[in-house]
Symmetry: C2
Subunit: 612 residues, 2 copies
């Protein structure tokens, strides 16, 4: 990929957006709020995510020449999971993999756009001896507003006179919840945007939304630059409390990166960033504290309470956001110190708080945030899973980047794997690790207790895996990729210790889930829907999540991967005041269960260390 | 005077305040909100402003040894207008010159203190596993507040956690209109102050008020440092529009001086400036625009409309006021481009908008702001008087400072005069000038048309003034002080041109008054009360104001000098939300009459050039 931008239009939805040159169709579909079903997880294996390029057809990929006929290829058919957009393109998404499918999958909730910000072009009467009203009064008069605004921003007052006269009294009023907050010269009614942010500990995701329509017009993402001082929440808190300028540094880092994302979004959509008037933010409680420059120290000490859970809109100018200074920033409310605004975003996007269906939502990262319930009652907790599912603390672990083994399977041909972007394998990421563990369990390489078997113990059927077992420096290990095939020249192995890490992570999440189910008095059969959110939840094979016992045993059709549901929640809160009201309600009404002091959780955790 | 501060207590009022060493008793009384009647205008001549020093008795002044008996002097009797406070003192103010008198004079209106800011000491529950509320929620909980504040300031959120823990969860909540805006460590309930400002074109006056009681605890004043770029409003506007940084410079100048006054007030009262939470500001419309950094350019061009007339509270932190950053700044509303918040302050202090009495209020400066009316209807206008009454554009004119001739009289001993602080005469200020004109009219030195007479034309009775008349470089002039008695070695004279300046100034004010009376359909007999506000209004002899025809001919008892009524209005608005509501109502309901385009005013102006 490079920095050039191209236009892509999706049919029949009729949605157009600008993406970076080289973007994979599936990614662009996601950015457009559409989704191409990828049963194989985007590995080019199933051929089910077919799309038709009406223009801007790319060269076929090897996976496409394997899976598609010559006639299909000549007709512009490609696979959504491998074809890239290299020039302006129009792409048709066949029935079944368009917007309709998304709604059934519950990843995208449609709400009416009802943003706080509204723009109205007005022609203001110029002063005359017969009309001696002040400038402010004449603007308010043109808007039919009788009362002075409750809050007037000084910058607005300071440019009011000049803007009126420069534009010959033809201006666009910016109204926030009906109150005048600023004016712009001329008619800028059509340029009214908002930006939604998901501040992850590792990654920042940003979405540019047209506030008038609710449509997403661009997306961008970046690494959270705070990662430079430490991978996880605890190391960030420690940095912020151990240095006099620690907190200010971390705040400034994330703010600068967010401002650079705003720049990228504005460039991609070819708009002025001063036409962005609202920002919504989700993130875990530590990330939102750091974003606001609020001391997160209490999150690192029992009983882990936040400084603030809910707040009203903040001034973009005061916060230093690179949008219109009169703009507002909405930080979604949190539930507890370790169940943050991101979880509120997931609940909001899932609509589970409105439904009768009993829903279990799990967002897996270093902490697994778990919410169980429906419109009558909701429980939430946070389980300290550790970073195994993110590929960290794993001997050959790596993040979900190019060259990571992201899927492993056992079939008639033996043990197979795929890597991200088809690059030479360099390590294993979370979804690949979970797949590998499932294969190891299935083949007897690992038993339910997590012990790697002696080669002689393998069942006859899987005797061919004997040579994959060896003694390493730290006990038995399983060779997943031979050194000849590895990008590093070293074999990619799964060690006994890796298995233990997976057990601990899986055990914590599962025990958290069962603790909530116990509190609620429900069992797996009562679950109507299980939602896996977040990057891991999006890429993990559902069968593997079920196979290791990470989640309760439910029929596959009840299990949904919803991608970045937290980000979806941020978008909903951006475009709708009602959704922000719902978020506040969710944050207040959800019952938080503290696991660290819960005796039941301790018992369930011990039980959940067993696979299956 | 020097910078040392001393304590003074006034009996029987029981009021204590700190003043600068060397302060005259009358000034300290004014600062304390009391008033000693000074029929002679503070010249030590009438002996009616007697006070008794119970301790800290100063040496008698010459005026005191002239006017008081030995027994009185030994008993601590002094004159309020000349005795100075040189050490800690207790001073008894005899009946008739204490607070009671003020009320009849209408200079001081008593209202119930009902400030926006309230402080409440609370002990907050510390977090525990049984109480996982956020810090903000636990503070709100201790206050019995259920909802999150509508507006949360970032600085508050940023120190919330640390302040709670530093003070072991014993804090004082600061509430603005019932909403939590900040907390302070420990119990600071008793320290809750506000500062009222009158930003004059020439002078800044500042008052420190205890918000709990409404009592004034210190006063301070300074020259408006913007005077460095020009004496009057027009030169300030011209500076602000002709330079790129002009407006910012002027704003910064006044803000810095106000902050230094806040420092002085805090030092005098021995309080921390961070315990000042509210500021109220009056001033003419240009001064309030410059204070806010709002472009005053439209005030210099017909039809002279302001950018903003009314506004709600502004953030002290955002404005850069040197008080508690969570504090609020209330700028009183204006009426028009040349009838500002200072006039609203005068109306507020006079209570005329509540009364049946038909009141005429006149605040004389370079512009004379005039308000006429009662609770049923009020009219206002601004008459361009020019600076004659401030001693400017007058051949021997000077401001009302030490050495200025401030009173002139004709009695059996001939022509007499006094100077400010009894210093050698160096020039003449506004009140002296008006007195002199009255004496010149009385003696026939000047006729009703303003022509200085030929010495031969003088009536026999005043023939002794013959030698005071001479021809100068610009026509006839009247020698008020012979060169032998003058501090400059040159005679202090009043020229024909000076008389013309006084005619123009007097004519503009009087024509403004008669224009409003014409609109209202009333004549001089209908006036129940005439109020002279401002420094000139305070020092001018009522007889002289009537004598030259500056104001309609009313009986002396209807005429009241009320001192800095604009500042009084600022104090009322500071201590009471209701008063701020009244100010908004005054600003909306008063009918503004634009004189520059008023034909009736032109005619009346021509008529009013005639003295008497």
């Amino acid at each position: 990929m490079d920095a050039r931008l191209v236009n892509v239009e999706f049919l029949p939805a009729g949605k157009t957006l600008r993406v970076e040159h080289g973007t994979v169709v599936a990614g662009a579909l996601l950015a457009a709020g559409l989704k191409s079903g990828m049963p194989c997880g985007g590995r080019g294996r199933c051929g089910k995510c077919r799309v038709v390029f009406k223009s801007g057809v790319p060269e076929p990929t090897p996976a496409e020449t394997d899976r598609l006929t010559k006639t299909e290829l000549d007709g512009g058919w490609r696979l959504g999971c491998t074809a890239t957009i290299n020039q302006d393109a129009v792409i048709y998404i066949p029935n079944g993999s368009g917007a309709a499918k998304i709604l059934t999958h519950g990843t995208r909730r449609r709400v009416l756009a009802s943003p706080s910000i509204r723009k109205k072009h007005i022609t203001v009467e110029a002063p005359s001896t017969a009309d001696l009203r002040s400038d402010l009064e004449r603007v308010l008069g043109s808007l039919g507003i009788e009362k002075s605004p409750q809050n007037i921003e000084l910058p607005f007052l300071r440019h009011l006179a000049a803007r009126l006269r420069e534009s010959n009294f033809s201006v666009t009023a910016i109204l926030a919840d009906g109150e005048l907050v600023d004016i712009e010269p001329g008619n800028t009614e059509s340029a009214c945007y908002g930006a939604a942010f998901d501040i992850g500990t590792t990654t920042l995701a940003a979405y540019l939304i047209d506030l008038a329509t609710g449509d997403e017009v661009a997306t961008a993402s970046a690494v959270n630059p705070q990662a430079g001082v430490g991978d996880d929440v605890i190391s960030r808190i420690s940095y912020s409390t151990s240095r006099i300028d620690g907190l200010a540094n971390l705040q400034s880092l994330v703010l600068k990166e967010m401002n650079s994302l705003i720049k990228k979004l504005s460039d991609a959509a070819q708009i002025s960033s001063s036409h962005i008037y609202e920002v919504s933010v989700v993130g875990n409680t530590c990330m939102t504290h750091l974003f606001l420059g609020v001391d997160p120290a209490s999150l690192a000490q029992a009983p882990y309470v936040p400084v603030v859970r809910q707040m009203t809109a903040l001034s973009a100018g005061e916060l230093g956001m690179g949008i219109n200074p009169a703009g507002r920033v909405h930080v979604l409310p949190a539930i507890a110190g370790y169940v943050g605004a991101d979880t509120v975003g997931v609940v909001l996007a899932s609509s589970m708080y409105n439904n009768e269906e009993l829903t279990l939502a799990v967002d897996i990262g270093t902490n697994g945030e778990i919410v169980l319930g429906n419109k009558n009652r909701m429980l939430a907790c946070s389980a300290a899973a550790g970073p195994a599912f993110e590929g960290a603390h794993i001997y050959c672990g790596m993040g979900a980047v190019a060259g990571a083994v992201d899927a492993v399977w056992l079939d008639e041909d033996g043990l197979g794997f795929s890597t991200i972007e088809g690059k030479s394998p360099a390590g294993i990421c979370g979804s690949g690790l979970l797949d590998a563990v499932v294969c190891m369990l299935k083949s007897g390489v690992v038993d339910e207790g997590g012990r790697i078997a002696d080669p002689e113990e393998l069942p006859q059927e899987y005797a061919f895996l004997k040579d994959s077992l060896r003694m390493g420096g730290n006990g038995r290990e399983f060779i997943l990729v031979a050194k000849e095939k590895s990008a590093t020249g070293e074999p990619i192995v799964i060690t006994q210790r890796d298995i233990r890490e997976v057990q601990l992570a899986k055990g914590a999440i599962a025990a958290g889930i069962y603790t909530l189910m116990g509190r609620m008095g429900v069992s797996a059969e009562d679950l109507d829907k299980v939602i896996l959110a977040g990057a891991f939840g999006n890429y993990v094979r559902k069968e593997s999540a079920l196979g290791v016992g990470l989640i309760p045993n439910v029929p596959l059709h009840k299990l949904h991967s919803v991608g970045n549901a937290a980000g979806e929640g941020a978008k909903l809160a951006l475009i709708s005041k009602d959704m922000r009201g719902d978020a506040a309600r969710i944050s207040n009404e959800i019952e938080y269960v503290e696991l660290t002091t819960d005796a039941e959780f301790q018992q369930r955790f011990a039980d959940a260390l067993i696979f299956g």
